[in-house]
Symmetry: C3
Subunit: 350 residues, 3 copies
């Protein structure tokens, strides 16, 4: 089915690109990210146009990369600035670049038509504090052997928490509450209010009755923010910043995914233990519960598109189905405008 | 080429499905087997119709399975009996079931049209005693990286014993005897009588001249019984029950196979050593001699259908060729009746 | 794109086929090589025509092979000389043979039309001495996960030495010299003369200014000889035989390659250390520098044909492009003559 190309995907955490380059496959395209001397980040197709050596194996200096194989040098705009075999530089000696924007400690990349790369369209993750503190719980990354939409499905239907995570993140008392799905400025919200339920193991109110919530919002193409919390029955539902989680997914290939995650509290040295506890619990849930299930689902689907398998749709699927429909719309819109562009060319020619 | 679907295949040994479920791919379909409270066995498509989670990861109780992902519950007929997201159950929320019949300590499964699943068509393995004793040599299972027909070919042409198993199961003196192939009630027999030959290493008569036999019979679709023995020259050829072996093959995929095997004697505690010796010798032959060869053949064939490679056919191939022809006939018959059914639909519509 | 079939490829070093057979996939075909009693080498398709067992698993004696599976015996012309199942031998019981010629301590194989297998067309590797001494540096073999043309590209453009091997085989002073490409009797030469440059680490003149050269010649389909050397500035450029290297490549599959290499000096016991030093340096360069790069390039190309990716062509590519064009011409010529042959048949029939 392909990907929505005209969108900002998370390429990496800012901290992943420091002195050295970072090589990563994104939307089936090998990309190398590196910093210029001024700290700004460059993304190039990770393939020399001469003999197709991966550029990340090269030497990086002064905002340029020298290919490790035959020494061609490219600047941060992808132009060849040195041909070791002679003076003239053939026109094919050009590397594709991708717009990159650094925001919220994240490097966002635009793999589609560069002219459309408007930073205003970056998902709003302003929940991540500018200065998250030295023990912050961001910067986490997992590799998953499954299509990225299955990860979105998983997050947009949190009814799974009380089955797949029974005893850790969820329990029987939290089941059966209706999700409230609504759209706001293109973002899709799925809010779950669970009054008078038992707090799960990770909560400070563990084992006691309380009012709980999990509110998740999807922002195109694949970033999610999850607010969760628990308060004594009837108390005001105040959101704690350390209980705001981000889950950001980027397709590596059709059947593998980069999973970035973290929480939004500001953690000073004295909160190191708390931050570590949250990170450990989050990671444990993904590694031992979510991802094995999602990878098993991907394996069962054998590469088929979801709708072709005619899934039974439940009311708890409403949010995930809406997100899928939004992404499908983005892809259709791109294909249409491509055909239109081709049509224009054809009319012009005819 | 596909499989004969309207046939009973061995899914597992009875002993493999006890308290917990058993997940196994059969004829390219993932299946989960489990027992109801009354001990009867249920086989379901191992894939939840909601979001395609493997059902074997779920919770099994009261003859029902609760999906581990979102909690849908299915009964042993595959009907959804609980939708955690609400009262109504969508019509797609149905799991395919497969008829299972337990006989001869074996779970037989029918992957084709359920209405045709007549237990009378189960291969006659009544040679396996009802009570094989506490040290019985049944229950063995190997996984082979080869098409199952190559395993049948191997067993239906026992001339290989005196080459591939030279020095263990066979020897030079046992070569060159004509096989007598005949059909009886759809079963194909290949009998080999080897008078005045030297008994092989596993025989009690090892190294001495004797009259030997190996009589194998194939029963559709892929079960074989092998009677073998050796007696002093001229003595009556009495068959010992512990020298009756069963070999039952079930395709896992086009190029991998479940290999089930054992022998039919009744082994009490005092025969533990004998039973173990037979099991060890059998397994050693498969693991070190047969299966490496069969897997090498499968690799050499690179997924091609046997006839497309125009094999040289020898007189020793008669039985294996007849079995292949029988299986091809079963498949053709199924395809014809499918087309006929479709034709009826078309005439009805027209 | 396929391979040039009517050509002599290196199947193995002579020393690789001794008492026992050697099984090796060449141009996507499994081959078994073995010696007759007179020492001459036979190459057979490594697949019994009966049930497709690999013949290399069989028993070799008297210039014949007995299949390990069912005992068919074949002579060195591929004819079946014994059918254990009876007297008549079916016409399909024939194994394809491939012409083999032993020369320069190498076994050359012809995988195309046997009638055209003229030993005069074997690449001239007479640089390998008849008696290379007991410590000779020949007989080396590596397995590479890349298309063989990428290895040829690598060798025919030695400008890579001063980038990929900077600090080991090359250095900055050796860069930017023009390569002289010329053809002689179908062989393509790429000569590089580097006067007044700094000798690299492996040279006896290490670190000193000198006149250096690397002259490489490609001989169809995939053998290369590399003469290299360094002398004090202005001294006569005398070629040392131990500084003549051979690099011979044979496709295993479209994306894997057999890499044979060595040097041509005569090394007596007292030169053991020198020979070992050269072998170690050569192997280290291939294993740690060339092959990782070439495998990375192959991965980046994802199986695409080079030209379809529209590479930027530099003047340093001249030799490698000419070699690729030669090989493409060989393949086109074969396809044409096949079509012509088919055309003749068709006219004859019509």
């Amino acid at each position: 089915m392909g990907y929505a190309m005209n969108a900002w995907y998370m390429a990496a955490w800012s901290s992943e690109v420091g002195e050295g380059p970072l090589a990563r496959r994104l939307l089936d395209i090998p990309v190398v990210l590196f910093r210029r001397d001024d700290g700004s980040v460059v993304a190039l197709h990770d393939r020399c146009p001469h003999r197709f050596a991966p550029l990340h194996m090269g030497r990086f200096a002064d905002g340029q990369v020298e290919c490790a194989y035959h020494g061609l040098r490219f600047d941060s705009a992808g132009a060849c600035v040195h041909n070791p075999a002679g003076e003239t530089i053939p026109p094919q000696a050009k590397v594709r670049t991708f717009p990159v924007h650094e925001r919220h400690h994240i490097l966002w990349i635009w793999m589609g038509e560069a002219a459309l790369a408007d930073p205003d369209r970056i998902a709003d993750l302003s929940c991540i504090p500018e200065d998250p503190g030295e023990c912050a719980n961001i910067g986490n990354h997992l590799h998953v052997r499954a299509n990225y939409l299955l990860e979105i499905d998983n997050l947009m239907d949190l009814s799974h928490v009380n089955y797949l995570h029974r005893g850790t993140l969820g329990n029987d008392s939290m089941r059966g509450h209706k999700v409230n799905v609504h759209e706001e400025n293109g973002a899709i919200h799925a809010d779950l209010w669970m009054p008078g339920t038992i707090a799960p193991i990770y909560s400070a109110l563990f084992g006691r009755p309380c009012d709980q919530w999990t509110n998740i919002v999807w922002m195109a193409p694949s970033a999610m923010r999850l607010d969760y919390g628990a308060v004594p029955p009837g108390a005001p539902a105040v959101q704690q910043p350390e209980d705001v989680a981000v889950h950001i997914l980027t397709p590596e290939t059709e059947r593998t995914t980069h999973y970035f995650y973290g929480t939004c509290g500001v953690f000073g040295p004295e909160q190191r233990e708390l931050a570590e506890m949250i990170r450990t619990a989050q990671t444990a849930a993904f590694v031992t519960e979510d991802n094995p299930m999602i990878e098993a689902v991907d394996e069962r689907m054998e590469g088929a598109e979801l709708w072709s398998l005619r899934p039974a749709i439940l009311s708890s699927d409403v949010a995930s189905v809406r997100v899928r429909r939004e992404i499908e719309k983005m892809i259709r819109r791109e294909n249409r405008s491509e055909s239109a562009a081709e049509g224009n060319v054809e009319s012009a020619v005819a």
